[in-house]
């Protein structure tokens, strides 16, 4: 099994993100950013897992991640995204969105751009702004899209102080996460179990499409898009359920997979091996879902601690017209034939695993037990 390395960092970690590698690079990632929450002082920090020239003199062993630099952040870090190699965008519980710049020459972080009241509640009795937590960010150079508890969607350009576009009252409930579908289109998830697709080319404040979980209106907390097949979207809900959606058809998820016992905080497709999916949850678990279908008789090769998923509903209908080879393994899952193999990655149950990120063979996650876990051999 992969070796996973834990480090206690004296702050509750809300987000962990790998720094993207330069295009075409064959390196393994060696820097990641974290954000903390619920501390009296919160920080955005950068960590290195590389050796970085210092000869581990103070007893640190190989693989232990070292702090490179950090900077105070006003409010909880609600979301964190790398904008490019040097810039990190952070969402705050105060409603502020900040772009931090990493100076590699002297290892410091500084504020590069800031939108102070990106998200706020309007006071019915006057023009007093009350900050509303910004809950999600997605970046696509040069654009930054943010969503918040105020149900607002903002579109920023990194070098513009003004908001490029704002959709007020985009949602009557809290928006929990956002991601790009195709460039001018984004998808948001909210606290009443809806997935909304927005097209910035359209005027007006109405979504282009609404998809929803039927019945219980279970809040959705996270969303990720399949890296190659832009119509395949995965979401995680308050009941720990993983839903796979095909946004081209239907208004309901293609499959619902019973997963964690509590809120699923993040879901990520592996960026280069999209048959692998990773989820983490409030129940303190971190799971690796493997839907690669090249392994015959997979059931005999179960990892220890692995389990088979249960399919609750299967509403895919008209697949006949879609060529078999282009169907993502996430959509074609037939409960009788293929099984998704699930492996738990953390050695012991801990407090909530709030965030995870994967890049190449590396995975990083952060917990409320104030530990950061890193593994560099995901597929060994």
């Amino acid at each position: 099994m992969e070796s996973i390395c834990a480090k206690f960092v004296s702050q509750k970690i809300s987000k962990t993100r790998w720094r993207p590698l330069p295009p075409g690079s064959l390196q393994t990632p060696e820097t990641f950013a974290t954000g903390s929450w619920d501390n009296e002082d919160n920080y955005v920090s950068l960590w290195s897992i590389g050796d970085y020239g210092n000869l581990d003199s103070d007893g640190g062993f190989e693989g232990d991640h070292q702090l490179l630099c950090d900077i105070r952040h006003d409010g909880d870090v609600m979301d964190l995204q790398f904008f490019d190699q040097e810039r990190i965008v952070a969402a705050s519980s105060t409603g502020c969105v900040t772009v931090f710049l990493h100076h590699t020459n002297n290892q410091t972080l500084s504020v590069n751009q800031q939108w102070k009241t990106a998200h706020h509640h309007t006071n019915p009795s006057g023009p007093v702004y009350r900050g509303a937590p910004c809950t999600g960010i997605v970046c696509d150079n040069p654009e930054i899209v943010t969503v918040g508890e105020d149900g607002r969607i903002n579109l920023f350009r990194v070098d513009h102080k003004e908001t490029v576009r704002t959709i007020d009252n985009a949602d009557s409930s809290t928006l929990h996460a956002v991601t790009f579908l195709r460039t001018p289109e984004i998808v948001t998830v909210n606290s009443i179990g809806q997935l909304k697709i927005w097209d910035f080319r359209l005027q007006g404040n109405e979504p282009a499409q609404i998809l929803s979980l039927n019945g219980d209106r279970v809040p959705l907390h996270c969303v990720d898009r399949h890296p190659n097949q832009q119509h395949v979207v995965a979401t995680g809900g308050q009941d720990g359920m993983l839903s796979i959606w095909d946004v081209r058809q239907g208004t309901m998820p293609v499959s619902l997979l019973k997963a964690h016992e509590a809120e699923m905080w993040e879901v990520h497709f592996h960026p280069s091996k999209p048959d692998h999916l990773f989820t983490c949850s409030e129940d303190g678990s971190l799971w690796h879902w493997d839907a690669s279908i090249d392994m015959p008789e997979k059931s005999s090769l179960f990892h220890q601690g692995g389990r088979t998923s249960t399919f609750l509903s299967h509403s895919i209908s008209n697949q006949a017209n879609v060529h078999q080879s282009v169907i993502s393994s996430w959509l074609s899952t037939d409960p009788a034939k293929d099984q998704i193999e699930i492996t738990s990655l953390l050695p012991t149950r801990t407090l909530s695993v709030n965030s995870l990120d994967i890049l190449g063979p590396c995975l990083v996650c952060g917990t409320d037990a104030e530990a950061i876990y890193v593994t560099r051999q995901l597929f060994s």
């Binding site: 509750k12 019915p124 009557s172 409930s173 009443i192 909304k196 929803s212 409030e282």
Partner: protein, 655 residues
């Protein structure tokens, strides 16, 4: 009340004049203090005092960054310990408990290590000293824990007991290793100024193999004493000791040991080492000569080292039950009446006396936070050593200490999540304490609220779930986020609040003529049944949708049923009837004759009631004007519709 165990410590609050009256209020982990002028009659003394309210924290260690790691890591170990199967008995259980104890200690040592590094790297002296103090506290705590592990958890019998104690001393008196490296690193070890000190320490700690190697170096460097060194070295080599794998009985060991001891004595009487005072002193030490041992006070450092060395060379098969006797005499001899025992000495002495309660009590008094006593007590409780002891307050001691510790965690801005699990494992008062604490967590984001809600829901704390959802719903209303507010009241199953929010929606509709938050209202589903008003809101919106989709007959029966079933609030009937107007005016007949009668009855019902409770005023009169026109129009439309309906129904039946 029991009597006080010691003088309470005095805390000076900077900025507060101790001559003035101060008042205070207790909080869970802290205290509020401010100046007051209670009951002072002469007003002339009303000098403006200190304008601040001070927050006094009881447990400052919680705020140390490094100790936070200790709290977090030990939380994991604690949870693991609670899961140890109760069925496990005998050896496997004991082995598990010892492993848990060692895990706790290794976390403490890791913290100590880091604190030590920080103390060295500290830029200013004051903070360096502060860290050094914490290192010494941690090291004392670990020392106590280790001794408790040997005596209470490991429960080593005579023989192995001494080996454990030797390890204990070696672990905590570790300056010798750096000295060893220093001496060996020098060009000529035997000429090093600390050479004999080093050899003596090695002998005092029972590290005879290493001592022998040192002696052989001395023999090489100094041929005159080579013989003596060889003889003493042989004595060291032949000293019988109990090794873990050895099967020999204690009696055999004692017999061999007596023989060896006689040989040592003979050498001493023969003045074999007369030429070298250092070697002679070593030989005396190996005979357990107390005077010779006490000469090495400096090297022994403390009385418990003295105790263990003394036992090693005079009572190697000491029984646990006799320990306290040797401990007491060692302490007395070592201090020699010059100084009085310190808290640490008392704690260790209590442990040697196997008085667990005394150990815990002394530790509680001496240490500034509950981490140590709570975890140690819990572990000892799992060893089933504390069951008989009940306090005259609360429940048992384990639970009392865990509650204290967990409350301390809850007082902290971010460590509260750890506290939850500690409360969970307090069977008697844990749940109520947790309930009280959870209600008081400040909720600045929904995400945090969700985490608290999850904790409540997992424990079926319905009352707390309701109250948290209500707080969030209230916040949302204040922020003008009606959709959010409705979601939260649905989650709380709070019918009254759902009614309130629904009314706000309806009012907004009346003002603006359109609905907001359709994404929510259109998808209420079964949640609509929560309150009548919410049902009405959902149904009324459904009417509008049907109307928009031109499904007029469905729309009209829905509209009518809203009034006849009394779901619609009477204040809203006029709006509903007005909504019926365009339906009445459609080309085809939508309301049947019977339905029209119903509508008319509703209208008359409404107007007659209005007349009953009339109170004329200017505004009202103007409103009434509009109202009267509306009623007139409605009556006209109803009458026309009725006529058309009767004709249509009559002709349909006729055909």
């Amino acid at each position: 009340m029991e009597e006080l165990d010691g003088e309470p410590a005095v805390t000076l609050i900077p900025g507060v004049n101790p001559k003035k009256q101060i008042c205070f209020d207790w909080g869970p982990g802290e205290m509020l203090v401010c100046e007051t002028a209670f009951n002072k009659k002469e007003k002339s003394e009303m000098v403006p005092g200190c304008p601040f309210i001070h927050i006094i924290q009881k447990d400052v260690d919680v705020y140390s960054k490094i100790l936070r790691k200790l709290f977090n890591e030990s939380h994991g170990i604690f949870i693991g310990l609670q899961r140890i199967e109760e069925e496990l008995t005998g050896k496997s259980r004991k082995a598990q408990l010892v492993r848990v104890s060692k895990n706790y200690r290794s976390v403490m040592r890791a913290c100590m290590e880091e604190m030590h590094q920080v103390a060295i790297a500290a830029k200013d002296q004051a903070s360096g000293r502060q860290f050094s103090t914490q290192v010494s506290i941690l090291s004392a705590v670990e020392l106590i824990w280790n001794l408790c592990e040997i005596l209470f958890i490991e429960v080593a019998p005579a023989g192995p007991l001494l080996l454990h104690l030797l390890d204990w001393v070696r672990l905590h008196v570790c300056e010798v290793d750096s000295l060893l490296a220093d001496v060996l690193g020098s060009g000529n070890p035997s000429k090093h100024e600390s050479f004999w000190n080093l050899v003596t320490i090695l002998v005092l700690q029972g590290r005879l193999d290493e001592a022998r190697q040192m002696l052989s170096r001395e023999a090489d460097a100094n041929p005159a004493s080579a013989d003596m060194c060889r003889i003493l070295g042989d004595l060291m080599r032949t000293m019988p000791i109990l090794s873990p794998g050895n099967t020999q009985t204690l009696t055999e060991l004692e017999l061999k040991w007596q023989h060896w001891r006689e040989e040592c004595e003979r050498h001493l009487q023969d003045n074999t080492f007369a030429a070298s005072p250092a070697l002679e002193s070593l030989c005396k030490i190996m005979l357990g000569d107390e005077a010779a041992l006490l000469e090495q006070k400096e090297l022994l450092n403390n009385w418990y080292h003295f105790l263990v060395t003394r036992l090693l060379y005079s009572h190697p098969t000491v029984k646990p039950i006799d320990l306290h006797f040797f401990a007491q005499s060692s302490l007395d001899m070592f201090l020699g009446g010059e100084s009085s025992p310190e808290p640490l000495d008392n704690i260790l002495m209590a442990a040697f006396e196997f008085d667990i309660h005394q150990v815990i009590k002394e530790c509680s008094i001496a240490l500034s936070n509950w981490w140590f006593v709570a975890h140690l007590t819990d572990l000892l409780d799992h060893c089933r050593l504390l069951q008989s002891h009940n306090l005259y307050f609360g429940s048992n001691m384990r639970e009392f200490l865990l509650l204290e510790y967990a409350s301390g965690l809850f007082a902290h801005h971010s460590l509260w999540q750890l506290g939850v699990d500690y409360f969970d494992h307090c069977p008697e008062l844990g749940r109520v304490s947790l309930e009280l604490h959870l209600e008081r967590i400040p909720l600045n984001t929904e995400q945090k609220a969700l985490k608290v809600l999850r904790i409540c829901e997992q424990r079926q704390m319905t009352e707390q779930v309701r109250s948290i959802c209500k707080i969030l719903a209230m916040k949302a209303v204040r922020n003008n986020r009606l959709g959010s507010a409705l979601s939260w009241s649905i989650r709380a199953k709070d019918a009254a609040f759902a009614t309130l929010v629904s009314d706000r929606f309806l009012r907004d509709y009346c003002e603006r003529g359109c609905f907001s938050d359709l994404d929510l209202i259109d998808n209420l589903g079964p949640a609509m049944m929560l309150s009548d008003r919410l049902t009405f809101l959902g149904k009324y919106r459904e009417f509008h949708r049907l109307y928009g989709e031109k499904r007029f007959s469905e729309a009209s029966s829905l509209l009518l049923s809203l009034m006849t079933s009394q779901i619609a609030p009477r204040s809203f009937w006029m709006t509903l009837l007005t909504d019926a107007l365009p339906l009445l005016e459609q080309k085809q007949v939508i309301f049947s004759a019977e339905q029209t009668y119903e509508l008319m009855r509703c209208l008359e019902d409404l107007t007659s009631r209005r007349l009953e409770c009339e109170e004329p005023n200017a505004q009202k009169l103007q409103d009434d004007d509009i109202e009267t026109t509306k009623v007139e129009m409605l009556r006209l439309a109803l009458a026309r519709n009725l006529a058309r309906a009767i004709i249509r129904e009559g002709s349909l039946e006729g055909s």
